[in-house]
Symmetry: C2
Subunit: 255 residues, 2 copies
């Protein structure tokens, strides 16, 4: 049975980071519902499809989740092949699971097509090896604020020995820094704050746990950005120099 809805991860921005599976699904889609964080270049792979934008634009509120789900259901019941295109991976802070569950409960067959999640792409493009032996036991992907209002257990995370990769954290840099310091993480723990991961104009602001709020402000760090906290954040295994705050050099690309 073919799925009626593909929940597709568009990756971090660079259209070359789409998977072959995503490109094939996009080429077959009749209608594509697109989130804001998806780079417009990705849409080159579905010129035949009707494009429906469902993200925030120009300060407007984002399309209500319930409306998006009902729209997908309506299209699927019309017999259309629906692609739901999300930034990064659909199930890493992308609500892909909720949408799949809602549609599955209503008899609509879904398939989840993985994407490269922004945290991993940001680190690789910056030469930061997230799980480097001797420096990290693994890697934890978190958001600084969850949509149910709860906050992560920073104390457990500080003790875990894993590299912390924080999504959607720009507005919460100060809180995060305070909580992790209070949990006993060293003030000089390296931090790398990466803006526009994988896209031209990617910038990296190096810092430490104690200074990250001040440094982010001086750097004028803007969303979307990924924050890497842990010993590996000081590594630059590709020998790429950090971006100066006043410049935005193009990303080194596969020519």
């Amino acid at each position: 049975m073919n799925p009626a809805v593909w929940l597709i991860g568009a990756g971090p921005g660079d259209p070359e980071l789409l998977t072959l599976k995503a490109v094939k699904a996009l080429a077959r889609a009749d209608v594509v519902l697109v989130d804001d964080l998806v780079d417009p270049q990705v849409l080159q792979y579905c010129p035949q499809a009707r494009i429906v934008r469902v993200g925030k634009r120009g300060g407007c509120r984002s399309t209500p989740q319930d409306f998006i789900q009902r729209l997908m259901l309506r299209y699927a019941r019309q017999g259309l092949r629906v692609a739901r295109l999300k930034g990064g991976d659909p199930c890493i802070f992308g609500r892909g699971g909720e949408e799949a569950q809602w549609l599955t409960d209503r008899g609509v067959a879904c398939e989840i097509v993985n994407g490269i999640t922004a945290g991993l792409a940001a680190a690789s493009a910056s030469g930061i090896p997230l799980t480097q032996r001797g420096l990290a036991q693994g890697v934890t992907l978190i958001t600084a604020h969850s949509q149910d209002g709860s906050t992560p257990d920073w104390s457990g995370l500080a003790r875990s020995g894993t590299t912390l990769v924080v999504y959607m954290g720009v507005a919460k840099v100060n809180d995060m820094s305070s909580q992790l310091l209070a949990a006993g993480m060293a003030a000089d723990t390296p931090v790398a704050m990466i803006e526009r991961a994988s896209l031209p104009g990617q910038r990296l602001c190096p810092s430490t746990l104690a200074d990250m709020a001040r440094d982010a402000e001086a750097f004028q760090l803007r969303s979307p950005a990924v924050l890497v906290i842990g010993q590996v954040a000081a590594c630059r295994v590709l020998g790429i120099a950090d971006a100066p705050a006043e410049a935005a050099p193009p990303l080194r690309r596969l020519a």
Copy 2:
């Protein structure tokens, strides 16, 4: 400047989970060094290249890391374009960072091409939403045993509120279960053990923290497998039934 060496993530197995960037790099490579965990189908994208297998085969010891690095250096100095193909993502337990650092230190330009890491692919293919709101604060990727002999801080991880995704954990199921129980994680915490993620014959063994060792044995769980520990492990957002232990149904695929 073009890189002399691409460190490429081949993804979890399904060749359609390669990125466009990986496919382009493979098509340009003169020589491809391949790890064992890479599915042979992936090599269809580099028919022009010389293939050098550097993984474990038939119980032999794996090729020493130092030898692999010197081989890449030699090829790069001969002016050849070298692709180093690793399972999953090159920097998630893949030593991609170490290889990039070693080559960069010797003046060889490298580029890291992300791949879909096995933990995320295993979960998505099973309908397990790793960061589902209300159930998880995020997700932690770890190995059960690191190569420097250290073990994760299970107590910190148990408290973190994140879903745990354990790589290379089949031989350590018993240890892990004991440590997490001792750290206070609930005995009935859902567990999903996923064998051959994304490949035909993928199997899922559902269990709990207390019973995972016994269940893995009854299921005859074999490496490579990914273990998901946390409330989300009980979710099946795609409505896919778990594989019975005696059968190995084909993965539901994009036709």
